[in-house]
């Protein structure tokens, strides 16, 4: 996958009246970019550093490095504050939901892209509606649909809702992808005696891999960061909250600060959630940027 973001340095050089002017403008550019980089990185670095401090140090010396790194903060965040448990919940929801989002979307997109049949355009347009309407409008009725089906506060319930809300954009994206694949491939396979299902699973699905990767990243980030849906549908009472996902857990911890102060534990909890996300981004930065901007560029 080629990098989308390396700029073409040769294409737009500065129109330079003089060498000195060019140097000055270069310095200004680096100053601007450097300042913004500091504004972005500093809050994160500061909070990770603070996660290693004692509560005393946090209150009285916000600038100083921790005298002794308090690894215990992380242990408390993981166990007492139950970040570990919330992480497991999140993964138990996201892994199946991501798998079925991609599988079901690929199946629907393949059919919508390759076959003429009655109702095709109605189905295609109906899926588009889900991309335009704001989530808030659905929230109240969705809550009662889930209540009727006894799916409130259950893992399968949230998984099904995640899949349903991820389908429209994923189908839209993959349908365009399937349209670019040549029809002849399927015809050749039919002559070799393959049935329709073989053609999809053996011939077309492997060819969609780049599209599936892009949509996989897009949906992973969307579902991993999702807060509104679990906040509405996973509403265990405060003492139980055994089904919380990470985003709910963090908010719950923060709200708890008002009557039960454990600042160092809270900072550690944020670091535990933040640092792995950033590391994953560093490794897959190109694919992640492509996945996340896919919506805007295609749309």
């Amino acid at each position: 996958m080629a990098s989308v973001t390396t700029p073409r340095e040769v294409t737009q050089p500065v129109a330079r009246p003089s060498r000195l002017g060019a140097i000055v403008s270069k310095i200004i550019i680096y100053l601007i970019l450097g300042s913004w980089a500091i504004i972005v990185i500093f809050p994160m670095l500061w909070s990770v550093m603070t996660a290693f401090k004692t509560d005393q140090e946090i209150f009285f010396s916000p600038w100083a490095l921790p005298a002794v790194p308090q690894w215990d903060n992380f242990v408390r965040a993981w166990t007492t504050a139950r970040i570990g448990e919330f992480l497991v919940n999140t993964l138990l929801i996201i892994i199946p939901s991501l798998f079925f989002t991609l599988l079901l979307s690929a199946m629907a997109s393949y059919v919508l892209a390759r076959f003429e049949f009655r109702g095709r355009s109605i189905i295609t347009y109906t899926f588009l509606v889900g991309m335009i309407f704001p989530l808030f409008l659905a929230l109240v009725p969705l809550y009662f649909v889930m209540q009727k089906l006894h799916l409130l506060d259950t893992f399968p319930g949230l998984i099904l809702v995640y899949i349903a809300f991820s389908l429209p954009f994923t189908i839209f994206f993959l349908t365009n992808f399937f349209r670019t694949l040549p029809k002849e491939l399927g015809e050749a396979a039919t002559i070799d005696g393959a049935n329709q299902y073989d053609i999809f699973f053996r011939v077309y699905l492997p060819l969609t891999k780049p599209g599936l990767v892009t949509m996989g990243i897009f949906n992973f980030l969307g579902q991993w960061n999702q807060y509104i849906l679990p906040n509405t549908l996973m509403i265990t009472n405060e003492s139980g909250n055994t089904h919380y996902v990470l985003s709910q857990g963090l908010y719950y911890l923060q709200a708890k600060q008002f009557y039960q102060s454990d600042w160092s534990g809270l900072f550690a909890a944020v670091a535990i959630v933040m640092v792995p996300t950033l590391l994953i981004y560093l490794i897959f930065s190109n694919q992640i940027e492509q996945g996340m901007t896919a919506g805007a560029i295609k749309g």
């Binding site: 340095e9 500065v14 916000p62 629907a108 109906t126 990470l246 959630v273 981004y281």
Partner: protein
């Protein structure tokens, strides 16, 4: 070649369509009806009341208060975020060393969840623990010692918007950089031979050729300005801020439904929000329509 075609179509579409209908279409459809009812959650008590919810909304000061904050976001976010992102993207075309380092850094906040970002900035704005006041102390501004950024009605919404800006600039910048790469270099060379400066190149070549991406970005930001649910909820601990000074329509909707149990009224709010988003999208598309430039 299409032997077994119908079986495949039905079996491949059945599950996605069923899930989508049950969890997306039914709720949206129900919302269209619920918005015109008075309903507290028990099915026995559902009662149609025509447009009364909307009349009540019109007279609801809390609703206008919340909507005004979305309005401020709508005025502030697009110019600030798009302007800065476009400017940064342009700087990267000026032959920068370490450009990949800067781009990755700028994109960082975008991969973090809104809740993480909100909790993180909750630390930074904190009156005693927060690093913002520690920075201000260095400059010796006495009036601002232990200033509660999120606890003061005058500063709370501005503080929240600053975080939204901090988080989104990198995303739009990457979007614009990707768009700029499809602009053929001949355009720049030709313009430079004609003696154009960087400034003219930016306004006369880059902006017009990026116009479609800019329009899309504008709609994204307009929709984001009408939302702001998670960031406001977490940064104000679900209160909408002191004197509701940072309340937005989605947070007000949520508390009207799930704290006050006025589900019909809350859904009416959702319908108004939908209408506003649709109108905004259409208006910004119309307003920014230009002859497409083929290249």
């Amino acid at each position: 070649m299409n032997r077994g075609k119908n079986g495949l179509i039905v079996s491949f579409l059945a599950l996605p369509v069923a899930l989508y209908t049950l969890f997306v279409l039914v709720p949206y459809g129900a919302a269209m009806v619920l918005g015109f009812t008075r309903w507290s959650g028990l099915s026995a008590n559902i009662r149609f009341n025509g447009i009364n919810n909307f009349i009540k909304l019109y007279n609801d000061d809390y609703f206008w208060n919340a909507l005004s904050h979305n309005g401020i976001a709508l005025v502030v976010l697009p110019p600030v975020v798009l302007g800065t992102a476009l400017f940064f993207a342009f700087l990267f075309t000026q032959g920068i060393r370490f450009s990949r380092f800067f781009q990755i850094t700028f994109f960082f906040p975008q991969v973090l969840s809104v809740v993480v970002v909100a909790v993180l900035w909750g630390f930074i704005y904190h009156p005693t623990v927060g690093v913002l006041n520690a920075v201000i102390d260095i400059f010796g501004i006495q009036q601002l010692t232990n200033f509660p950024w999120l606890g003061n009605p005058k500063t709370v919404f501005g503080s929240v918007l600053a975080v939204v800006i901090w988080q989104s600039i990198g995303f739009y910048m990457v979007l614009f950089i990707a768009g700029m790469q499809s602009i053929p270099s001949d355009y720049y060379e030709a313009a430079r031979i004609d003696g154009a400066t960087s400034w003219t190149l930016f306004w006369r070549v880059t902006v017009p050729l990026l116009w479609d991406t800019i329009r899309t970005a504008l709609i994204f930001l307009a929709i984001a300005a009408m939302d702001l649910f998670a960031i406001v909820l977490v940064m104000t601990n679900g209160t909408g801020g002191p004197s509701r000074a940072a309340d937005v329509v989605p947070t007000y909707l949520f508390s009207t439904a799930f704290s006050d149990g006025q589900f019909g009224y809350a859904t009416a709010m959702g319908l108004v929000l939908l209408l506003l988003v649709l109108v905004l999208s259409v208006v910004s598309l119309r307003f920014t329509a230009r002859e497409a430039i083929e290249y």
